[in-house]
Amino acid sequence: MIRAETLTKKFGDKTAVDGISFQVERGEIYGLLGPNGAGKTTTLSMLSGLLAPDAGRITFEGVDLARDPIMCKQRLGVVPQEVALYEELSALENVRFWGSLYGLSGKALREAAERALARVGLTGRAKDAVKTYSGGMKRRLNLALGLVHSPSAVLLDEVTVGIDPQARASILDVVREVADAGTAVIYTTHYLEEAERLCDRIAIVDHGKVLAEGTLDELKARLGEEETVTLWGRFEADAARTALSGLPGARVISAEPGRVALTTGGNGAAGLLGTIHDCGLAIDRVAIEPPSLNALFLKLTGRELRD
């Protein structure tokens, strides 16, 4: 359905996207997981035709985006990270306007608008000006605008930023419904739990590159039985790295003053803790994390996703 091949985009000397490739099928939710600045939004901007890639190719159902952008965009729904609405207008007027941009008119437009608003639970407030809406309602309407024309693929860019858990859950439910109806969804987020809950396949992205890709289980399997142990205390990074480097099976994956993280190498954290105690580091606190996306991200990038 959606195919991206070695997409590359540079801004001056900085490479924002560095040879990213992936493919998303109908009914699949494909997550791009990475911290801010990882290149997720730039990738989506290229997929939505707003930015031309410096290299690489994008196709929608076999149609090259560069060759026939209008046809490709017609099949695509885009929900931007920002709430891009006309606040003076009502929700219904907003939805109808965006629907008409995609060629809907008359009865088809009316029905599509009603369906989109019902899907995000805004039917009761359809005629109210958007400026009277709460943040969560605006987010839901923002989503509805991208779905009004029933696209065969949807690009969702951090659509749950800054809203309460209830509104977030509601949006995630809608995204799941959309995918279940056969739409290909590309979903960018930096929330691990969202990616874990929602996405069928996940690509871990950092510095413009896909570091790992697969289903949640496949990604976790890359860690094997490894647990991640994080230590906080009064020590320097180099001292911690040196002290812990000799531990059997363990590997230091990140170290900074007062904090060091290491994988257990399948030996189990319990056995390792006694050895760590003998290393001479002044340790105040210890955390043991079972195999997880965060642990994988930490292992792949040397930093936590929230950093």
Partner: protein, 425 residues
Amino acid sequence: MRVLLAMVGKDLRRRVRSPLSTLLLLLFPLIFAGLIAVTFGGAEAKVPKVRLLIEDRDGGLAAQLVAAAFQRNEAAQYFETEKVENVPGDGAALLEEKEAAALLRLPAGFSDAVLAGRPARIELVKSPAQSILPDVAEQVTTVLADSLSAASRLLRGPLDQIRTAPGAPQGMPSDQRVAEISVLINQVLTRSRPYLFPPVVTLETATRAEPKESNPSPGGTPTGSIFLLVLPGIAVYSLFNLADQGMRDLLVEARLKTLRRQLAGPLAAGRVVVGKALSTAAVSGLALLVLTGVGAAVAVRGVSFAGFVLLSIAVVLAATGFASFVFGLAHGERQGATLASIVSLVMAFAGGSFIPLNSLPAALRAVSPFSLIFWATQGYQKLIADGAGVRAVLPHIGILAGVGAVLLALSAVLWRRRLLRGDLA
């Protein structure tokens, strides 16, 4: 086309829901023209008369002539005289009391001195409480004194006879004597004619044409006429501001990220710009319709319908093209707004929106034809004030439409380049 209509409809709805700025721009020309009309065209706004007090301490012929000069013919339109007697001091108190502009004092012996060809003095006391009117009185009195001096020298012979006429205690000779003196004056004037009345005066009199039958004033009353004379210039200036607001909305939408969203849809970048230009033209056109309605309500005389419609279309095209070009050049919303305001203001000033063209300095008048607002204002004034037909404003329509189309085409290139480069997305 349906998509473009949807874009125009969306923008019009947004304007209706947030109407303040549009209403202000619409009201501005009406208020401005209305204030000017009421100030300068009100029914009470006649030329104020110079209130002149005349104290004739002489009572002789020459003194009576001077006093009468302010009460006759055209002078009576501008002077309101009052005879006063026995004014104490310099008359300042009386001037204040009677709210007069000046006191003209003709001293005793004035007529004798004039008739004898001796130096005679007219005393004029100006009121310090008034500014211009006392000066008017002074100027007129100076002219009068000069005329009297000239007459005194020229008519020396006849005047001597008047002065020495028997039985004339107040300087008033008998009828027979007056007849003889008149003949004498006529002879003197006939001999002096080549020197006193040079040919140019004769020529001017001889070639003076019958006054043309003037058009009835467009507004009926002076207030209405001034309103209709002032309104086009200010209205055109406001239309340019409205158009600026319209094209600025592209940058506003870039800020709101709705532009980015539109560009992610199945629309070519050029279509988005065309949609905004159409919205801008629609708003300008509607505003023009409202202003025309107000103008039509005031007007008592019709204008060329074809001329008005064609000129209005050309004005909307020019305003839209100008705004699109300026905002296409500008790096940001604020920069565009500043640039558009300055250029519009200069064009309005040079185009005669605020000050009549003939009152502008020559240097500024020389650049007026470079102002789009000049062509628009002049075109409307030809139609409204002169009652001209469509032929008379064809050059105006051509220039406005031509420049507007060129600016739109240039701006389309600018906008497209920016949109494709991702500057606004």
